[in-house]
């Protein structure tokens, strides 16, 4: 089942605009009730749905360049919804929603085997080694629309699906079936002070994301935009998060290349 008629929510992140300030991470944690610990510096066990990576071009001083790369869940479509994490989950605790293109995580079904974490090539999925604990009074600022997660389950970026549900309910009550583009936006998109993140329905020609990464049928469906790329595209995960960069070394950093491999790829 292909989902041309359905919605396919995706994100375009312009790395030329990203300053690496981390506002997207903070907004995400506040929106999605992501807890913090006294020492959260071990990034392998620290839970963060959005993470900003710092890339360098590997050239010696003074030719060193840096680029910040925010990484939400890639919401992989794979082939016909066979995203890497969904395929391996023995508990059906994660599924690919054909009507939105969003990969879910159902905390109450997850029993913490962490197959999905091993399968995800983007380190998007994270395991709760501890029960969440907020400083006193801060529990009052938790988002009532997002459940907190207990020790022993996996969690990940949901593209703020609760906002989609709320917006859809509101639209339905008003007798509308379709949402406007600005009625459903993720927390990171709205928080970014540089306007580097654009979010919307990739299938809707009226949405900005559709125009930014419009596919080129003569080029295997790759975006016409020469600045566009996706992470580890060659694995066939078919992510719905696109990146833009005018710098070639950044675009090449999005995938693994063996030494001396033709530089014509993604040029």
């Amino acid at each position: 089942m292909k989902h041309e008629k359905a919605k396919k929510f995706g994100m375009v992140i312009d790395l030329d605009k990203c300053t690496g300030c981390g506002t997207c991470m903070v907004a995400c944690m506040a929106e999605n009730n992501v807890p913090f610990r006294e020492d959260d510096t071990d990034k392998l066990i620290s839970v963060a749905w959005m993470r900003v990576y710092r890339l360098t071009n590997g050239k010696p001083f003074p030719h060193t360049e840096e680029c910040f790369l925010p990484r939400p869940c890639m919401q992989c479509e794979g082939h016909d919804g066979h995203s890497p994490c969904v395929s391996v989950c023995p508990a059906t605790a994660t599924d690919y929603d054909m009507s939105t293109g969003i990969v879910s995580q159902i905390y109450t079904r997850c029993f913490g085997c962490r197959y999905c974490m091993a399968a995800c090539p983007y380190h998007v999925r994270q395991f709760n080694w501890w029960d969440p604990l907020w400083p006193e009074k801060m529990t009052e600022s938790l988002n009532p629309d997002v459940s907190v997660r207990m020790r022993g389950v996996v969690e990940k970026c949901s593209f703020c699906i609760h906002r989609y549900q709320t917006a859809t309910q509101k639209a339905n009550l008003e007798g509308r079936r379709e949402l406007e583009e600005d009625e459903y936006q993720t927390a990171c998109t709205q928080a970014c002070p540089a306007g580097a993140i654009t979010f919307g329905d990739l299938n809707n020609p009226g949405h900005a994301v559709h125009q930014m990464v419009k596919p080129d049928p003569n080029h295997g469906g790759r975006p016409k935009n020469p600045k566009a790329f996706r992470l580890l595209e060659r694995l066939g995960t078919n992510p719905k998060v696109y990146y833009l960069s005018s710098r070639k070394w950044v675009r090449r950093a999005g995938d693994n290349y063996i030494r001396q491999e033709g530089s014509q790829n993604h040029s």
Binding site: M25, D40, T41, F61, P62
Partner: protein
């Protein structure tokens, strides 16, 4: 802005003002986030000014307040402190009087804070010269004090210079911030510029050795 002040301006908003005054460049800025002047070529700064410093000098000739250009060196004995420690501001670390809140500490890069240690940026050439390894603890000392830090080997920092992020080493605030890392302020010293009396040095001589 409203009333007479608002009416005095020809534009409805600041954005409209920018759009009109920048013209085509504004559209490019909105579209790609930056605007590049392809016609720009850098001036020949080395011989742009016929002053002692080869730089722009501004002084009253009547009072002769700038008799000569005297470069100010960072404090410390170069033979004992071969490196220069400079501070830098990270976008993800509050460096002023107010400390970073817990979400921001969590969002801090692993190249700035690891455990309770701040990482200092060291060029690969400097690291090789002093036998320092990436991620390992080291002792950072200046004429003003000592701190335990971790080494972040990074090409982006000049050889011979060590950079430390501003905003750590607090003794105040909560357990998420207090007693993490080291503060540049505790390691730095002031050098007075003889002409102006202002603090003139950016950085201090330092030594970085295996912990």
């Amino acid at each position: 802005m409203g009333g007479a002040v608002g009416n005095a301006f020809a534009w409805d908003s600041y954005e409209a003002c920018l759009g009109q005054t920048l013209g085509d460049r504004w559209d490019v800025l909105v579209e790609q986030g930056f605007w590049e002047n392809t016609d720009f070529s850098q001036g020949r700064w080395a011989d742009a000014f016929e002053t002692d410093s080869s730089k722009f000098e501004f002084a009253g000739s009547q009072i002769n307040a700038l008799p000569a250009y005297n470069p100010v060196s960072p404090p410390g004995d170069e033979s004992f402190y071969p490196l220069v420690l400079v501070p830098y501001d990270s976008m993800r670390l509050a460096s002023g009087y107010i400390g970073s809140p817990p979400f921001l500490i969590k969002a801090l890069e692993a190249t700035i804070l690891k455990g309770n240690d701040v990482l200092v940026e060291v060029n690969p050439a400097t690291a090789a010269k002093y036998g320092l390894k990436d991620g390992r603890q080291a002792t950072l000392s200046t004429p003003r004090g000592k701190a335990v830090v971790k080494v972040h080997v990074f090409d982006g920092i000049m050889p011979g210079v060590i950079a430390i992020a501003r905003g750590l080493g607090h003794t105040a605030y909560d357990k998420f911030l207090a007693h993490k890392g080291a503060s540049y302020n505790a390691l730095s010293a002031v050098v007075e510029d003889p002409a102006t009396g202002l603090d003139a040095a950016w950085g201090i001589r330092a030594k970085l050795g295996k912990a």
